[in-house]
Symmetry: C2
Subunit: 602 residues, 2 copies
């Protein structure tokens, strides 16, 4: 399956339209401001200032911001934003070395170490700059950075692939691989694909090439990529690598590599993923751990790894379109990804726990223990601020993940019900949807072809009308297929009711508990709505649950709080007390000050 | 209340007799061997060997071992053991400096730093040496170390109290204070009490005197002791300090200090204690954290802090005899303390978690993450091996905690039902008890006085017979009081049935769960008996529970395992499957190889 990219898809209204508006008016500027204040935009001017050395990965922050700007500017004119982007592009291009190399850290502070330190994100930064350049060109914003990055990619090709005189073979942080595939697709020059393929194939074939941090597992260098059997190590690294592996496997029709991608995807979604779509459960190495190890309070579940899982799912669907990939995309985007940003568009989460006890945080802060502890409130910028611009570029690019089509364009897929319109092979398709807060969606179709409409797994029964007439939908592999010729209004009503979700018996943190989902949304409860002792709340049924729409989408659930005496331990069983539990979408949490939060309930 | 010390109490049979036998035949020798191999006994020979510098606290390990040996040798002749102890005593005495000072680290490796480093356990080691010397003298084993330690204590008095020329006022690790009270009681010389009092009173009055590690809370130097309102900081430090504070407060009748001790004790048992009696829930600083923060998997609950809580409870009972102190003593001893030692007497636990998932440990080991993670198996020695000899000396001294009496000896208390005999003020008292595995106990009394028999709070109804005749017991403040004159056989049958215990609604880790207790024992389940997925076990009733006695005391409980599909998340509720849960005493866990363990059940 191919996907319709965002340049051809107009987000028309509703949830994502609002989100993009917030990004375009607030977030993109606020991130710029914080990156400017913290020196990231000064760094690319490449003026040596020993007192304010840039971090080795700052170029990638600027690059992701530029990529986000490209996706904004293709949709709307914004001279101020374009001027800011232009200045950054000019700075990068002006400071690119004659050989094509650009890195604001190495060329200014350690030129003798260029291409000698595998673990220091050099090609990772290059990859993000290439992604930005491709996006800026595709969006008609700029050709200059694209030219510069072609030269940079050529230089990398020369050093790593032709001369092989760099001190390492593959970068400690995958990213360059997927960027090179994009560059290959944009330029048509096969050498970039060869280089991506080379980086993927060479990985895990040299014992000395891994981080001292843990071992080869950390950066997926313990085994050749095609021999990998499970998700391990740093989650973002693993997922970026497998995004590229899936890209290359699809282009080349490489069955061995496809099988490795499938194994890793399967391992993630069946054993190592939070219900929010979060991955990488430990802060130690920001890594996947082992099957079913999914702590809630000390979860890591980085926003970037959520974005990466969404992208990996998208690439897997391109290899073979299965509904599961879009389901996982939907789960991770509406929950873990969107939790990364505050309602006002200014604050961001790097890690996304599933349970918060603010007094754990307060205690650790008061003693400055430096123990790992998720934040009870979002912040505007991090030392390692990869997530905020990643969110911007992802949300602005959401149009790319809605529609799919076969190569001959005879089959058109609606994979996500996000209000939008597009044109595929002469057919006009338009979606008008209530999601994620309601199950109704209208799909307008004008043209000729087979339309495949995905049926979400959370749906409790779908009612379909075609041009006003009820039609019993035939569902095959989670798609409704309609052969159409002419003008059609397909109205879908996916029954959206709150549902309990149960974790596998091996997930000891969640065993005996249930989460509540409403459509694609995982819900959570906060102390600001529910008072103290969230852990003592018990829900036995959702039958009396009521949706209330206010500042936040809210589900009111008849529940109980189990009350005990003041003793620490007692032989008396807790006494249930009637209680109305107010649940909101997980992504909406932590927007009203510090407090406690919980996803899994007794 | 005064207590009858172990020299006057003979442990006659049963549980503690067996435990002492194991200690005397195996543990005391094995600990000696491991301390010998690791250089602890070489260190006190004070021969400089830069390649094998002793740890700053090794003297205290030797001292606790010597104290344990004293309690063994007063009960039975053991020439081999005595010879080992004699050599250690001779080494210490031979190397004591003329001024009286002894420390195998400072005098050999850093003599210029003597009494300059507050945080380095110098007076802590001195305190344990003094405790050993007092015990050896009291037990009639040795006078030489006692003489040496009087000189050392005099030197400390001179430097800290008279000249005040040491570089610090109070030791970073309390211990000297309680040792000085023992020395005062043994010698009758009030200057040792004055010095203990001085160390207690001066603590927390100098802002500069605390560890850089966290802040003054860590070693209870944030506030004067009498102003402390809660348990905080390093648990062993806090408890050793409050043991001494209670001693001094009792001797001086100091109401302000008594109130501080009561506040701290109350804070521990009502807000900061595991159901096993464990305290100090975080490894970070081995410390108390905040109210109700009692994680099970990553619990710390050091064996030494359990012993210290038992001793603190004993001291509080001496100030004012309340049953709660003996209840806490019973809880902490039969659960957290005894879990510190393996069934074969050779292995020890430093930390005592309430839930074990061996794959968490295996994962961290395989990656050498160095993250804190409790051990799934006991080991023979630790780098910091304070707990093993502490256990020895505590178990050998258990006789001291059974009986109490009023100063006029008109009232005699039986506080613990441990099979033993003693003579108090002309009255002979003998206990023959099934505890902890059964609720029957016989108390033989010969003499005249008021006998007060403690009624444990776990008791489900007591049947009492006096000289074979059933007598309805009158229970007041958890004691049965009998005015006796003559020969009596009081037979007590405390109903011992398994009971659910529930944690306070604020304990989020245990909310909605229950622990199972049987008499004074907290029970746990292990995977070796119950297979995988302990977290999926649900118990709803204990009515069909059966006691089985085999290698371990076992309670078989009709239960369910909640089974799910293999999916990670599912809309299908787990299905209950009949299951018999086998529970054993918490202290018996981890004696059959690595595996999982759980105390709190759904």
């Amino acid at each position: 399956m191919q996907t319709q990219d965002m340049r051809k898809v107009k987000i028309t209204e509703g949830f994502f339209k609002e989100l993009q508006k917030l990004n375009e008016e607030v977030s993109v500027y606020n991130i710029y401001k914080r990156f400017e204040e913290t020196g990231r935009f000064r760094a690319i001017k490449c003026v040596k200032d020993e007192a304010h050395k840039p971090h080795i990965f700052w170029d990638s922050d600027v690059a992701k911001w530029l990529e986000g700007v490209a996706y904004i500017l293709v949709k709307k004119k914004d001279d101020r934003l374009e001027a800011l982007a232009r200045e950054a592009i000019d700075d990068i291009c002006a400071n690119q070395l004659p050989c094509g190399y650009f890195n604001s850290y190495y060329q200014v502070y350690a030129p003798e170490k260029i291409f000698t330190e595998r673990t220091e994100h050099e090609l990772y930064c290059a990859g993000h700059l290439i992604e930005a350049a491709v996006a800026l060109r595709q969006c008609g914003v700029d050709e200059k950075l694209y030219g510069a990055m072609l030269r940079y990619a050529d230089y990398i090709y020369e050093r790593f692939y032709v001369k092989k005189d760099a001190a390492f073979t593959t970068c400690g942080h995958p990213e360059i691989e997927l960027a090179l595939v994009k560059l290959y697709r944009e330029s048509g020059d096969k050498k970039y694909l060869d280089l991506a393929d080379f980086f993927i194939e060479e990985r895990g074939r040299r014992e000395e090439e891994h981080y001292g941090f843990t071992d080869g597992r950390y950066d997926q260098s313990d085994l050749p990529v095609r021999e990998q059997r499970e998700a391990k190590g740093h989650a973002v690294r693993a997922l970026y690598l497998f995004i590229a592996a899936a890209d290359v496997a699809q282009i080349k029709g490489d069955e061995g590599l496809i099988a490795a991608c499938e194994r890793v995807f399967e391992d993630i979604v069946n054993r190592k993923m939070y219900i929010t779509g979060g991955t990488g459960s430990t802060y130690h190495g920001e890594a996947f751990t082992f099957a079913y190890d999914l702590p809630n309070i000390f979860a890591y579940a980085e926003t970037c790894s959520a974005i990466a899982l969404a992208l990996f799912a998208d690439r897997m669907a391109k290899i073979e379109n299965k509904a599961i990939y879009h389901e996982i995309f939907e789960r991770v985007v509406y929950n873990n990804v969107l939790a990364g940003e505050s309602k006002d568009g200014k604050g961001f989460y790097y890690v996304n726990p599933l349970e918060m006890h603010e007094n754990i945080y307060d205690y650790n802060e008061s003693l400055k223990t430096k123990l790992y502890c998720p934040l009870p409130e979002r912040v505007e910028v991090f030392d390692c601020s990869c997530c905020p611009p990643n969110l911007i570029r992802f949300v602005e690019n959401i149009g790319s993940f809605i529609y799919g089509f076969d190569e001959d364009k005879k089959r058109i897929f609606v994979n996500q019900y996000i209000s939008s319109e597009t044109e595929i092979a002469g057919a006009k398709v338009k979606i008008s949807s209530e999601m994620p807060y309601g199950g109704k969606a209208k799909v307008f179709f004008e043209g000729q072809g087979e339309l495949l409409l995905r049926v979400p797994s959370w749906n409790g029964g779908v009612v379909m009308k075609v041009n006003g007439k009820k039609v019993e939908p035939e569902i095959s592999d989670s798609y409704i297929s309609l052969a159409l010729d002419g003008d059609f209004e397909i109205s879908l009503d996916f029954k959206m009711v709150p549902r309990f979700v149960y974790a596998n018996e091996k997930v000891w943190y969640d065993c005996g508990r249930k989460a509540v989902e409403y459509g694609p949304l995982v819900l959570c409860g906060e102390s600001v709505d529910n008072g103290e002792n969230l852990s003592s709340v018990r829900i036995t049924s959702l039958s009396g649950a009521k949706v209330k729409k206010g500042e936040f989408f809210t589900l009111e659930v008849p529940a109980q709080k189990m009350r005990t005496s003041s003793a620490l331990y007692s032989y008396e069983a807790p006494v249930p007390e009637k209680f109305t539990l107010k649940l909101i979408p997980y992504f909406s949490w932590a927007n009203r000050g510090k407090g406690d939060m919980q996803v899994w309930w007794l």
